[in-house]
Amino acid sequence: PAMADTANIAVAANFTKTIEEIGQVFEKQTGHQVKFAFGPTGKLYAQIKNGAPFDAFFGADEKRPLKTAEDGIGIEKSYFVYAQGQIALYSAKYPVAEHALEVLKEAKFNHLAIANPKTAPYGERAEAYLQKVGLYDGVKAKLVNGESIAHAFQYVVTNNAEIGFVALSQLVDPQSPVYQKGQYWIVPQSEYKPINQGAILTQRGANNVAATAFMEFVKTPKAIEIIQRYGYNVQ
């Protein structure tokens, strides 16, 4: 490419490894450079709103990337959903692969970890699902809220919660501490509103060749393959 450029991209923390791998391929192919800043989506939004030098914003939901467009910082027409998170029920102790609903109904466990329904889409969807299948009241007293989906996962990994709704991506990663350990059950996508993770280009990034190129690159089959490999759906 004639003009190599560097882009600063804010990315929701749960997508860290996936996007780093995509980034590497992208850099190799295009010669552009991408630098990622990770963090909780809400915090990234607050930073962008207060002038953070990000060229693009990959959120963990749709709400906050769209809100940047409302604020006049994001470019609405560049918005797209780059991945859909999948919820899985994981436990090292209970036979959730076969009997997920029975385990939830009996509720013998002490703690069921979910992400904070108020701030994290994974948590919100998990809670909604429990309500939908009528199990919410039974487990309500045992819910513990991780600040993010990663935090909920830590509760499960460290045995503090025997069972938890986590992201599929955390289970299928070969580096994951629970990779091929314990049991999990993928909650059917039909049971909950998709966890759309939206990306948007900022005004600042509009003139950044690397940023625009990267936005496009994420839509290519090569990128989609990586995203799917990490346990996300792509529309």
Binding site: H111, N145, T158, A161
Partner: protein, 231 residues
Amino acid sequence: MLELFGTSVNLAPIWLTLEVAAITTVVLLLLGTPLAWWMAKMRSSNKVVLEALVALPLVLPPTVLGFYLLIIFNPTGPVTEFLRFFGFEGQLTFSKTGLVIGSVFYSLPFAVQPLMHAFEAIPQRLLDAASTLRASFLDRFFTIVVPLSQRGFLVAATLAFAHTVGEFGVVLMVGGNIPGQTRMVSIDIFDHVESLEYDQAHILSAMMLIFSLCVLMLVYGLNRRFGVKVG
């Protein structure tokens, strides 16, 4: 729930925060006092190591400390097993107990350092005089050392309390953010920021700030006024 400037504020996290901070302060004073006394009287070079160890929580990012506490406190982990042995039931994480233990770790230097300095400043002669007046060790401690270290205790208590109130990482990691049980103010503010409810965040922050400023001013004021001069 409280209506303030047209925004409703949930007061439960505030009460919880005050409760945890109060318990933590008490525990810290109870544990920190003998530790500080021991360190104050130490002569050997071990004292340096101990001082450094006590100061260590200052250096660790609280989230990291919290992460390790999660690992250590897990229900099948050694600490819980150890406590089980003494009849402890339940779980350290996701409970007030866990919050308090985490906070105790985190705020340890703030309690131990002022106490140690206060103890070091007590003239040996006064303790000697009490000895000749037939006061035993504990007797001397409560009738001479404690009253003469009240400044130290005051500072230790305030700093420990303030630091626990302001604590975030450890509480977030270990607590599980269970409304009414482990959701403290700092997390609440954080959640409000995350979910774009900036008004609530501002109000809560302002309340905390004003409250803390009042407490600190009270303490520093008392400190100046009724500090007993030793001499």
